[in-house]
Amino acid sequence: MQNAIAKFTAGVVVLGALSVSPASANGWEVWTEKQSADKVTVVASFGGDGSIEEAQLDLKVSGPFEVLEVSTLRKGSICFGNAEKNVLRAVPPSGAGSALKAAMTDTCMFTLRVLSPKGWSAEGIVDVGFKECASSVKGVVGCEAKFQVVE
């Protein structure tokens, strides 16, 4: 992760003990950070394995929420949130026959308002709704999604 939360929310929060290991590729990393009593920021990052040309992550949110802001962190990505359908979608631009780069790259950032704020935490606020990676050679292939909390 290139620390998009720190980069894009500078001045809003002071990041705590952020422990980020060197970027590891092959799959999604999802970072969540509690911003206030009812606000959370979610960043989806992707790194390829040298063959994956396409990647998609649809996150689902635990409990009712409102989408406050969606930022596209990588040009050409698809990023949107829909509370009614309970989906936060992150799709890097198509590799169009070439592998997506292996370095973990921030794709989308979502800022949400939690509508049932009592007792919620950044951990477990989002989960995988749908996940897919593919290449034109192998078709649909597996890829992981790891969840991390910025404390």
């Binding site: 396409e54 998609q56 989906v87 799709v91 897919e132 593919a134 050679v137 192998k138 649909v140």
Partner: protein
């Protein structure tokens, strides 16, 4: 009582085993052996042969002009009911002819000869589809079947009842938008459908060419209703019932060298008759739709 309905899916290729080797270079041998009669020497094949495909590796380019192509379904109805048993069918044709109105589908009441029961015609001037049944012609709305696109036609024919039909094609200006066409019910006679023809099956003429693909039909047998035809979801290139990035990869595979056209794949997302980067952009546009676009 043995009573069942049956789906007839007459592809335009001998593709046995192709689906099982998905993502391998398609080496399909396209032919018309699944059809009982072919006239006019139509060309079966894929993009490499200059033939447009809607699904899989093979489509059919019928002869345009005086020599019409004829494809019959003569051997597949012996156990099927008549006398009011509904006959449902779907096929795709490419609206590529101008300067004439190609008849793209006919149905007859007998295996050989017989009386014409249904006729489907595309009008490139008004860009719609006309249905002639039992002496009555009805047309879909103008601009509901635009030139340069695949047109999906579905209908239900109920002898001594009614005939209803719908069309669908992609907007020429908005790739994520489908245009629907329909007619009101036409009263039918007692004749049943015993044979069908697809292609450019009348006098031909005009310029350009049409293509046909994915004819599928079902009808009532005994007391069991016809089986509903499985919807084909545009944008679901790899036929997983989900529109996702796997579909973009499938388009890329179809653009590869050699191209990959597994039997169940539909890479022509924008349905313009060619497989191109526009189809990958089409899937991308669908992925970006909010709320998410779904197949069902």
């Amino acid at each position: 009582m043995v009573s069942t309905s049956r789906v007839i899916n007459i592809g335009l290729a001998s593709l046995a085993g192709l689906a099982a080797i998905a993502w391998q270079p398609a080496q399909a041998q396209c032919n018309t052996t699944a059809w009982t009669t072919v006239t006019g020497a139509p060309v079966s094949g894929g993009p490499a042969q200059g033939v447009r495909i809607y699904q899989g590796a093979c489509g059919l380019n019928p002869v345009n002009g005086a020599g019409a192509s004829l494809v019959e379904e003569a051997t597949r109805h012996s156990a099927e009911g008549g006398g009011g048993a509904p006959f449902i069918a779907r096929f795709f044709f490419y609206a590529g002819i101008t300067g004439a109105n190609p008849v793209v589908f006919r149905a007859f009441s007998a295996d050989v000869a017989g009386t014409q029961v249904i006729q489907v015609t595309h009008n490139p001037n008004t860009q719609n589809v006309s249905f002639l049944v039992n002496g009555t012609t009805q047309s879909t709305a103008a601009n509901s079947a635009t030139n340069g696109k695949w047109i999906e036609v579905t209908f239900t024919y109920n002898a001594s009842g009614t005939f209803t039909a719908n069309t669908r094609s992609v907007s020429p200006t908005a790739v994520i938008t489908d245009i629907a066409g329909s007619i009101t019910a036409i009263n039918t006679g007692a004749l049943t459908v015993e044979r069908v023809q697809l292609g450019n099956v009348a006098s031909g003429g005009g310029t350009g060419s049409t293509s046909i693909d994915e004819y599928e039909a079902s009808r009532q047998v005994g007391g069991t209703p016809a089986t509903a035809l499985t919807p084909m979801c545009r944008g679901d290139v790899n036929n997983t019932t989900t529109i996702s990035v796997g579909d973009r990869a499938a388009v890329t595979a179809a653009l590869g060298n050699p191209p990959s056209f597994p039997a169940a794949f539909r890479p022509d997302c924008n349905e313009d008759g060619s497989i191109s980067v526009g189809d990958r952009a089409c899937v991308t546009a669908m992925l970006a739709q909010n709320p998410p676009r779904t197949c069902i």
